[in-house]
């Protein structure tokens, strides 16, 4: 009998060895597959602020409640309990549960209180999923610029789209040990990656001014029965945009239910023939090139001028007008005659210098360049048409920036709408300094032009823009819209516009307005100029005496540092990095010795905080005979994983695609530099299904 037992024991022994020794690897893998649960920890999306740190876009937690049908024994009983909290009839809930698949979403976006109540009830099979909801507290204000996000929080338009990567941050993850019922028990401490919350974006927008602009634009559009309109308010010295609005608009909180046409940032995506506001190009060129003086007389043909087989009309008949009065009364004939003297080449060059036909480079998605044909494509008549703003198409922003160049003494500024991008711990990630694109005209010319624009408002076409507290400089525009079906211009459809700045001699605000198809009153002087006045008065009521936007100080800094965004040079060879900086005219210093830029910092002046130079810390490739510590790569994208390895002088053999699921050797192992590691990649979904 004993022998029998020994035999049995021997069989048991062999079986133990088979499972525990030879099966160890196989069963360890199986074990891990069933223990580990991948839990994503959502990064908080960054906020969008105005220049005074008012929230323009924020993220609120909301809760979705769902039930797992398979875990419910008595749907009726459950529904009665839930009905009280959800304020729904229990029969409605029962129906929803019965109709749905295994997992039914009962209600989306319940509030914190309801969620807590349901949590406390501890109902079997009921799940509460937290999600974040993007909220735009100012609703339709600035909506096109801010944009909106889809249900997963990806930016779809505007700032939300352009800065999506910054705002999104990086989701963290934890690998949890779970029990057989899928309950997550404990995080495995070595395998966690905390979420990196998204960066905040701070705009140059002033919410107060934006609100004024939105309200007045809306009022004007409705008062003049217009199709729409745009307003831009800038600080002409810095190119900062203080407000930017267009109609029709939409509520960003309900974007999905509105027409995509309303989502466009019309101030940069929509082009129109500018009409008289474009006359500044000819005005500037004539003055800058010394073709005309302010008081030179010009014969205006009594309102009708036949040339090259075309007829140019003036709204009011004039015989002789001085150079400045041509603009004061906005004579098309007068400006056409000036243009003939300027010539195609200079005209084209000036228009380009003002920034027409070129994207302004604003940091928003969807900008168009407008239309400014090359001079060799012009007909003889084109030169004249262009002088009073036909045959060209511009965006409202281009126009605002061009007038800004007059206001600030001659420099075309790059429009800035992003003040800074800051991480959640208030570290500045990037800061957008005012940037001068080029000098368009001399300060003297700018001063002369300002004096003409002052007269436009004092006694010309723009009198309705005048305010009592000080001088306004500006120009009206009344452009016939081109016909859609054939060449020529409409007699009933106009774009009324006004561009002006205040105070004329030391401008703080530049306001550009256009109103699309106002009816029946349609002239820039009667539609856009009074709107300008209303907006300006309301702004001044708040910022009076005009608030310093520190324009001068910032402008000084540009002169000194010619600020540019400094590229990320880490990981590059020293020669390459320094060459890039040399090309960009950025001062730099290298620290340490070696071939690779390991890190880069900015050195600023201790007193003024001004940028001094870039400091590059350089080092060598890791020594080939040294040992390095294997980094933890699980969960990383392929690009990041491989860069983590290459920094340590390691190479990788890669299997699959997606995120790192398995790595050999394991994290923390000491391995020879230059060694080859094995990385197994799986898609997020695959990892999820494997681990859940």
């Amino acid at each position: 009998m004993q022998i029998g037992f020994y035999l049995i024991a021997a069989v048991l022994f062999l079986r133990l060895v088979q499972i525990q020794v030879f099966g160890h690897e196989k069963y360890t893998k199986l074990a891990e597959e069933q223990y580990l649960a991948w839990q994503v920890q959502k990064a908080q999306r960054g906020l969008i602020f105005d220049r005074n740190h008012k929230s323009l876009a924020l993220s609120n937690s909301s809760f979705d409640i769902s039930v797992d049908k398979r875990m419910i024994d008595n749907p009726e009983k459950l529904s009665r309990k839930l009905a009280v909290v959800l304020k729904k009839s229990s029969s409605e809930i029962v129906n929803k549960i019965k109709k749905g698949n295994n997992s039914v979403i009962l209600e989306r976006k319940i509030d914190q209180k309801q969620a807590t109540m349901i949590k406390v009830m501890n109902l079997h099979g009921v799940k509460i999923v937290e999600s974040t909801e993007r909220v735009y507290p100012f609703k339709e204000k600035l909506a096109q610029v801010l944009g909106f996000v889809d249900i997963d929080g990806n930016g779809l338009s505007g700032i939300e789209l352009r800065f999506n990567e910054h705002l999104t941050g990086e989701d963290g993850w934890r690998i949890l040990q779970k029990d057989a019922r899928g309950k997550k028990i404990l995080p495995i401490s070595s395998s966690t990656e905390d979420p990196k919350d998204g960066d905040d974006v701070i705009l140059t927008i002033d919410q107060v001014i934006q609100t004024i602009v939105e309200e007045e634009l809306r009022a004007a559009v409705s008062r003049f029965n217009a199709r729409g309109g745009s307003v831009i308010v800038t600080n002409p010295h810095t190119g900062e945009i203080l407000a930017m609005a267009s109609q029709p608009g939409f509520d960003a909180n309900r974007a999905a239910r509105t027409s995509p046409a309303a989502w466009r940032i019309r101030t940069i995506t929509d082009i129109f023939e500018p009409g008289s506001t474009f006359k500044i190009v000819a005005m500037m060129t004539a003055l800058e090139n010394g073709i005309k003086k302010l008081d030179d007389p010009i014969f205006c043909e009594n309102g009708k001028y036949k040339i090259f087989g075309e007829i140019i009309n003036d709204p009011k008949r004039h015989a002789w007008l001085s150079f400045k009065s041509v603009f004061k009364y906005s004579s098309n004939i007068g400006v056409a005659k000036i243009a003939r003297e300027i010539g195609k080449k200079e005209m084209y060059k000036s228009a380009r210098n003002f920034g027409f036909g070129i994207k302004s480079g604003i940091n928003l998605p969807g900008e168009v360049s407008g239309i400014l044909n090359k001079q060799n494509e012009w007909s003889r008549f084109s030169l004249l048409a262009i002088s009073y703003g036909h045959e060209v198409a511009v965006t409202p922003l281009q126009m605002a920036m061009a007038y800004g160049a007059i206001a600030n003494g001659g420099k075309l500024m790059k429009p800035v709408i992003i003040k800074a991008v800051k991480s959640k711990d208030k570290q500045t990630i990037s800061e957008f300094w005012p940037q001068s694109i080029r000098r368009v005209m001399s300060a003297e010319t700018a001063r002369k032009m300002t004096s003409i624009l002052k007269e436009v408002v004092a006694g010309g076409t723009g009198t309705l823009a005048a305010i009592s507290s000080g001088r306004v400089a500006g120009k009206t525009g009344t452009a016939q819209k081109p016909l859609e079906d054939r060449p020529g211009y409409s007699n009933s459809k106009y774009v009324a516009s006004f561009a002006g700045f205040y105070p004329a001699d030391h401008p703080e605000f530049l306001i550009y307005i256009n109103i699309d198809e106002p009816y029946p009153i349609h002239s820039g002087g009667h539609v856009a100029a009074p709107t300008f006045k209303k907006i300006l008065q309301r702004i001044l009521k708040i910022y009076s005496p005009p608030r310093q936007y520190s324009g001068e100080i910032l402008a000084n800094q540009i002169e000194k540092s010619d600020s540019q965004v400094i590229p990320d040079l880490t990981g590059r060879r020293v020669q390459t990095a320094t060459q890039i900086l040399k090309n960009m005219n950025i001062k730099y210093q290298t620290k340490g010795s070696g071939e690779i830029v390991v890190s880069q910092t900015l050195k600023t002046d201790q007193d003024s905080g001004e940028f001094r130079k870039v400091v590059l810390t350089v080092s060598d490739f890791p020594n080939q005979t040294e040992y390095v510590v294997m980094p933890k790569l699980t969960g990383l994208s392929m690009r990041r994983a491989i860069s983590e390895l290459s920094v340590r002088g390691l190479t990788a053999k890669v299997f699959g695609s997606g995120r790192v699921y398995n790595q050999v050797p394991e994290a923390g192992a000491r391995i020879k530099a230059g060694a080859r590691c094995m990385l197994e990649f799986k898609s997020r979904n695959q990892i999820d299904t494997l681990l859940n």
Binding site: M1, Q2, F5, Y6, I8, A9, V11, L12, F13, R15, L16, V17, I19, Q20, V21, G23, H24, K26, Y27, T28, L30, A31, Q34, Y35, Q177, K178, D179, A180, R181, I185
Partner: protein, 377 residues
């Protein structure tokens, strides 16, 4: 020889004690999670088990001081009580079916499984009866019918619970005991075959048991294993050579069903690796060897049979349990003696060990009276 014999009962006691200690530790490790979840007291099962172990040990020591022939004499009575309890299980409306079978009587917080007692009672009775009758050589057919009846009366109610595993193991013990007693085996062919016939009927009626066996054989051919066995393998395999360390089991988090009762051996393997499982196996072999040696040394036939029966009972349970854990047998619901979370089996087993110790002690006394007689075997 005297010294060696002296060592036998203390060695046996030591083995049992080690197994009990390991059991207490493993029960705690494997049950704390579930105890916390159900009773919000991670020590709940540990305490319960510990008290039973303590009670069992005291009982064992007491019994070891009582002349074992007393139990033989009152074995018909014990058998009768067991039979009564088995019948009670079948007829009482108070008994609740657990997982489809009625096996336990609830006595306060204590779950009493009459089959455990019946098993020992049958061993006592058969040792008593076979040991005596064989010497007297009475009428074979009478004896045959009598024993057949007794065995059938005990096994039948167990089959009807239904508890196939226990019934089969009892049959196996009976057959072996009869074989050892020197009876002609064919006389006891029928009592042995009876439960098998009944089992066949049960299997044909009850889907899940039949299914288990089918799945077991399928799994041997490489098809997917039963969930519990699969999880058992993961426990053992993940444990590897040294194990995950005491308390390190992850399978106890609902993955492995019955982690501190029927599948505690798998948890031993997970936490202490093959070192742990082999140690247990070696202890069990040592237990069997010593137990059989004690039986061999017993001069009186009833005592010899009794010692065999007790050792056999524990050995069969231990090996069946490990075989199930290792998927060498289909799942039967058999606990691991001394290790598994205690029920009546633990108490009854320790009771049996008490008797065994007494037999060993009596042997020693006789041997010392015989002096240095070394030819005995």
């Amino acid at each position: 020889m005297r010294e060696q014999n002296l060592k036998l009962d203390s060695a046996l006691f030591l083995i049992v004690l080690i197994l009990l200690v390991v059991g207490v530790v493993m029960v705690y490790s494997a049950s704390s999670f579930k105890a916390q979840e159900i009773y919000e007291d991670s020590h709940y099962f540990l305490k319960n088990h510990f008290y039973k172990v303590l009670f069992g040990l005291i009982l064992m020591l007491l019994v070891s001081k009582i002349d074992y022939t007393v139990w033989l004499k009152i074995s018909p009575l014990i058998l009768l009580v067991s039979f009564g309890a088995l019948i009670y299980l079948l007829v009482s409306p108070d008994v609740v079916a657990v997982r489809g079978s009625k096996r336990w009587i609830q006595l306060g917080s204590f779950q009493f499984q009459p089959a455990d007692l019946a098993k020992l009672a049958l061993i006592l009775f058969l040792s008593h009866s076979l040991g005596r009758t064989n010497l007297m050589r009475t009428d074979t057919s009478k004896r045959f019918i009598f024993h057949l009846g007794v065995i059938a009366l005990i096994i039948l109610p167990i089959v009807l619970q239904p508890d196939a595993g226990t019934a089969i193991l009892i049959s196996f013990i009976v057959i072996t005991l009869v074989f050892v007693s020197g009876e002609k085996l064919r006389h006891f062919f029928f009592p042995a075959i009876t439960p098998l016939v009944f089992l066949l009927i049960i299997f044909l009626q009850k889907g899940y048991q039949w299914d288990r066996i089918i799945r077991f054989f399928a799994s041997l051919k490489g098809e997917e294993m039963h969930w519990q066995t699969q999880q058992s393998f993961i426990s053992l395999g993940n444990g590897g050579f040294f194990g995950l360390g005491l308390g390190g089991s992850r399978q106890k988090y609902h993955f492995l069903p019955d982690p501190f009762t029927d599948f505690i051996y798998a948890i031993v393997g997970e936490e202490m690796g093959i070192l742990g499982t082999l140690a247990i196996l070696i202890l069990l072999i040592a237990f069997v060897s010593i137990g059989v040696k004690i039986a061999m040394m017993t001069v009186e036939k009833p005592g010899k049979l009794l010692a065999f029966g007790i050792v056999l009972n524990i050995a069969i349970y231990a090996f069946t349990n490990s075989a199930v854990v290792l998927n060498l047998l289909p799942t039967t619901g058999i606990p691991m003696p001394f290790l598994s979370y205690g029920g009546s089996a633990l108490i009854v087993n320790l009771f049996g060990i008490g008797i065994l110790l007494n037999i060993a002690e009596q042997n020693r006394r006789k041997l010392s009276r015989l002096g240095n007689y070394s030819g005995y075997r």
